[in-house]
């Protein structure tokens, strides 16, 4: 069970996408795991052949628990006696006894085993009486997942009417009306998936505030050239090809971060490790509450159109609950933009193990000096939250200057 963020303690296996005997390559999506942040697609970190799937569908497993045995080419399964379980996974569903992996090379797709954070699963076991096997691809909106869990309805038994057969809120409601009442064995005040997400956010942000010596630099700048550039560019394009201001900002962050190494990377094991590429995390607010910040891979290598397409894809998959594990763990800097209407500035909390977060306020019409003339212009305030273990004010200032220079000349993006 990989760690999908510093705050994750355990995950529930929802679905295997491979079977014993299947060949897998590093990066293939092999399973879907339900976490506090919704369903995440798990990629394999080994290349080889699936020998055994030791984790059972429906099992809630602490981070670090082996889930499958994958054999490298030419490797024979070891027939040695399996290690004695140190501790029974305490939250196995009834009828699914925990199994230790037999032998061979345990598939550990773990990006980070979260040292120092003992896995202590606290999630309740699935309701007795609900089937745990999930026989087909499960696509469901976060709202539908929340509702289904509240109602004790198994998503696998619902036919989805959304895009690609995704289960949407209405489908759960319809099922609810048709289904007999679910057994009620839950505690009086159960935690909903939304509670779990809030807990996950709180855990990550508390850790950030307690361990990262944050400092902040803000700069207000003229966004009119960028806004005018997009208006002209989008005017003769169909909606499918239009670009949002947010994508322009994301592109500018990718380029600026590629020029200022000390804001781009991870702080781990007592040292800052600059990243070779910029994978900007895009903070996406989920409808109904909560947020996730999946990463756009190698943002500096993407054109503005590719950046927009990538952002559109990330937002839609974040809302549909279909993000990949790598997108949850490989971000190197996070961008949180307040959109095109709203407050003028935000000072954000860094998402560990990253070392910087860029908060971009909504554009505001303001009197602004252009040369010696006061003119009405749309301005934005950009705030960099940075980690003093990785950078100082000078580098942070350079980042903001690079960003400003880029958005003053939007053709360069």
């Amino acid at each position: 069970m990989p760690s999908l963020g510093a705050d994750m303690e355990a995950g529930t296996l929802v679905e295997w996408l491979v079977r014993p005997g299947d060949a897998v390559a590093r990066g293939d999506v092999i399973a879907v795991v339900e976490t506090q942040k919704g369903a995440i697609e798990i990629e394999v970190f080994e290349t080889g052949t699936v020998h055994d799937l030791t984790a059972r569908i429906g099992a809630t497993l602490p981070v670090g628990t082996p889930m499958a045995v994958i054999l490298a080419e030419g490797e024979a399964p070891q027939e040695t006696v399996p290690a004695k379980p140190q501790k029974e996974p305490p939250v196995e569903p009834p009828g699914n006894p925990p199994e230790q992996p037999a032998a061979g090379q345990p598939a550990e797709p773990s990006a980070e085993p979260a040292p120092g954070e003992p896995a202590s699963p606290r999630q309740p076991p699935p309701e007795p009486g609900t089937p745990v096997a999930v026989p087909r691809m499960l696509r469901a909106s976060p709202a539908a997942r929340v509702r289904a869990r509240e109602l004790g309805v198994d998503l696998a038994t619902i036919r989805g009417s959304g895009p690609g057969g995704a289960i949407v809120l209405d489908d759960v409601g319809a099922r609810r009306r048709a289904a007999p009442p679910a057994p009620t064995l839950r505690p009086a005040l159960p935690r909903t998936p939304m509670d779990e997400m809030r807990r996950a956010i709180a855990a990550a942000m508390t850790r950030a505030k307690q361990t990262i010596p944050h400092f902040y630099l803000s700069h207000t700048m003229d966004a009119q050239p960028a806004i005018d550039f997009l208006a002209a560019r989008n005017a003769d394009r169909t909606p499918a090809d239009r670009i949002l201001l947010g994508a322009l900002f994301l592109r500018a962050v990718s380029l600026a971060a590629s020029r200022v190494q000390s804001v781009n990377g991870h702080y781990k094991d007592g040292a800052f490790h600059p990243a070779k590429v910029v994978n900007p995390g895009v903070a996406v607010a989920l409808r109904g509450g909560g947020l996730v910040a999946p990463a756009l891979m190698d943002g500096a290598a993407l054109s503005i159109d590719e950046t927009m397409a990538g952002m559109r894809d990330l937002v839609s998959r974040a809302r549909a609950g279909r993000l990949k594990a790598s997108e949850m763990t490989e971000g190197t800097i996070t961008v949180s933009a307040l959109g095109e209407n709203g407050p003028e500035a935000m000072t954000g909390v860094i998402f560990p193990p990253q070392v910087a977060l860029v908060g971009i306020g909504a554009p505001q019409r303001r009197p602004w000096l252009v040369g010696e003339e006061v003119m009405p212009r749309s301005t934005i305030t950009v705030t960099l939250s940075a980690d003093h273990r990785a950078s100082d004010g000078r580098q942070a200032a350079r980042f903001l200057t690079e960003f400003e220079t880029l958005i003053q000349d939007p053709e360069s993006l």
């Binding site: 709202a143 959304g162 895009p163 809120l169 909606p239 239009r242 949002l244 947010g246 409808r287 959109g339």
Partner: protein, 83 residues
């Protein structure tokens, strides 16, 4: 396309973008951003879908004219009739 058909399409695309919204509870004058809390990406996705289904290439300056069911029905009906 009749106003009722446009309305149906609009609500279908709205609930596709925001599956937690119950189409039956959307008022004629509920504003996409102010009342239904859609963001700019949601709006763009709705505009893209409306373009695909009605053929109306809604320019950005006209986004305020599709911001509620009532506004959108009038706007799209006029655009489709070639007005």
């Amino acid at each position: 396309m009749t106003p009722a058909e446009i309305r149906t399409i609009y609500l279908e695309e709205l609930t596709r973008v925001a599956p937690d919204i119950d189409a039956a509870s959307v008022g004629d004058h509920d504003h996409l951003q102010d009342d239904l809390e859609l963001d700019s990406m949601d709006i763009l996705n709705i505009v893209t879908a409306l373009h695909e289904r009605t053929g109306v290439n809604i320019p950005e300056v006209d986004y305020p004219r599709i911001a509620t069911v009532a506004l959108a029905v009038d706007y799209l009906a006029a655009a489709m009739s070639g007005a």
